[in-house]
């Protein structure tokens, strides 16, 4: 038994080539949507520490990339073409489990931090999510994927901020992200990668939730759980408002 433990300890000492670990924290573990919700600012901070038990100091320069991924949804990208003078959606490519929100905060230019293969295989580039399209053939797949990322970026759901992470000291960083008011509610994941000389030496993932609370949660839930009652209440409210309007303004 002791031998096994000793071997295990040895392995743990040997495996991490750079001997660094990431200690990080998120400013809030949930974002609560109330009636006055108009977006929320999140702060990610952390420090790169030597591995437990290691006496070696960790030396920079480091690069930190924080990837925030929102709840996934099935999405289509469509293209309009001109048919007999009328613009109609004719082609479409479907993307299953496509993130509804995707923001990358980095401490420098992504191309300087690492090579494109590492970035793509770790889903750091938004285009990584467009590679698994369902119906796109070899040609239209990448085209629609690029356009989808562009559209999501225009709507503020996707983004890459290459100066989003600031180092306050050699190994202490902080990053700020403003969630827009239309960021979809659901579970979010923040993945933090530490790069040194183009390689990932430490990573950590943290989750946070964007959710409606109080009145907003009540309305959204009743719309889904009791749709018939919800519809009837809407109609009664409308009839009452209309009647009241007539009464108030008559006198």
């Amino acid at each position: 038994m002791r031998l096994v433990l000793a071997l295990l300890g040895l392995c743990l000492l040997l495996v991490p080539a750079h001997g660094a670990r990431l200690v990080s924290q998120l400013s809030n573990d949930s974002v609560e949507i109330t009636s006055s919700y108009a977006g929320e600012r999140l702060t990610f901070f952390g420090s790169i520490e030597p591995d437990a038990g290691s006496t070696e100091r960790v030396e920079g320069p480091f690069h930190v990339v924080v990837v925030v991924v929102g709840p996934t949804q099935d999405r289509v990208a469509r293209r309009k073409t001109n048919n007999f003078g009328i613009w109609i959606n004719t082609e479409q490519v479907e993307y299953d489990n496509f993130p509804s929100y995707f923001h990358v905060l980095a401490s420098g230019k992504l191309e300087d931090i690492s090579d494109i293969t590492t970035l793509t295989t770790n889903n750091i580039l938004p285009e990584a999510y467009t590679l698994s399209s369902d119906s796109g053939d070899w040609w239209s797949g990448p085209v629609f994927g690029r356009e989808l990322v562009r559209l999501m970026t225009q709507q503020g759901f996707f983004g890459v901020q290459e100066n989003g992470v600031n180092f306050l000291s050699n190994n202490f960083y902080s990053a700020r992200l403003t969630l827009p008011s239309n960021a979809p509610p659901g579970p979010y994941i923040a993945l933090t990668y530490v790069f040194k000389n183009g390689e990932i030496i430490a990573r950590k993932s943290e989750g946070f939730a964007v959710r409606k609370i109080g009145f907003e949660r009540f309305i959204a839930l009743s719309a889904i759980q009791y749709p018939l009652l919800y519809g009837i209440v809407c109609v009664i409210l409308a009839l009452f408002t209309g009647w009241l309007g007539g009464v108030i303004f008559k006198r």
Binding site: S35, S36, V76, C234
Partner: protein
Amino acid sequence: MQIYLPIAELSVNLFFLVGIGGAVGFLSGLFGVGGGFLLTPLLIFSGVPAPVAVASVTGQVVAASTSGALSHYRRGGIDLHLAMYLVLSGILGAFGGVATFALLRDAGQLDLVISLGFLILLGSVGVLMLIESSRALLRTRKGVVVRERLPNQHSWIHGLPMRVRFKKSRLYISVLPVLLIGLFIGFVGSLLGIGGGFIMVPALVYLLRVPGNVVIGTSLAQVVAMMAATTILHAVQSQSVDILLAFCLMVGGTAGAQFGAAAGKQLRGEQLRGLLALLILAVAIRFGLSLVLTPGDVFSTAVVGGAR
């Protein structure tokens, strides 16, 4: 002041919502129409997802038409018998419309059909109204007395079978055209998120020869009942009715409608119809251009399935 809309899942300025509700309400009070054909495009343009906009405006149209319908009811300006036939067939049409709405949304052709539908409907109704009202204006300017259309003038429509007597409208006609009109307006109204008053009124006047004193009231009563049913259908089928959005629009809309109705008394009937025709045509042209002009972006994206 920002307000978060729980179903549309975005936050919008409260004063903006009440403001457009009020502006459209003013126009709807002025012209005696629901105003859905203006409100739905405005909301879509300001970032509200199209299904949520269509479904929530349906709720707002109920409120906007209620006060009008009530005051007509007190004056005895509603043919309830006729309205009942229109509403029953209208609800049947609304079932079809709401189902088609979901199908088209999933196929990605909803925008196209909404644009085409608005273009054809508004375009044709607008042109007809413009011709009719400008003729009437020219005639009154020349000093010719305009002869009112006689309610007992008959056309081939009055020769159809299954005749029913509508006492208040002083009509003894087949129910088939009545049911068809109701069915059509129910279908189109729920598909496009409009009350359909601007189609209903000409249809009652020119096809069925319903006398002028009950036309507006009956049409309003039909709009209230049918849009109420459509709101519930949308709530059940797609859960896309945003009660907060609808309420903000209602508050603005009912207030605006009262001022609009007061302003409407200053203008003559033909002038009002002429102005409404221009407004309808402007919206139709706007939709027509969006179909024909090269779009700024040929690519678009949407969520498939899901609750919205």
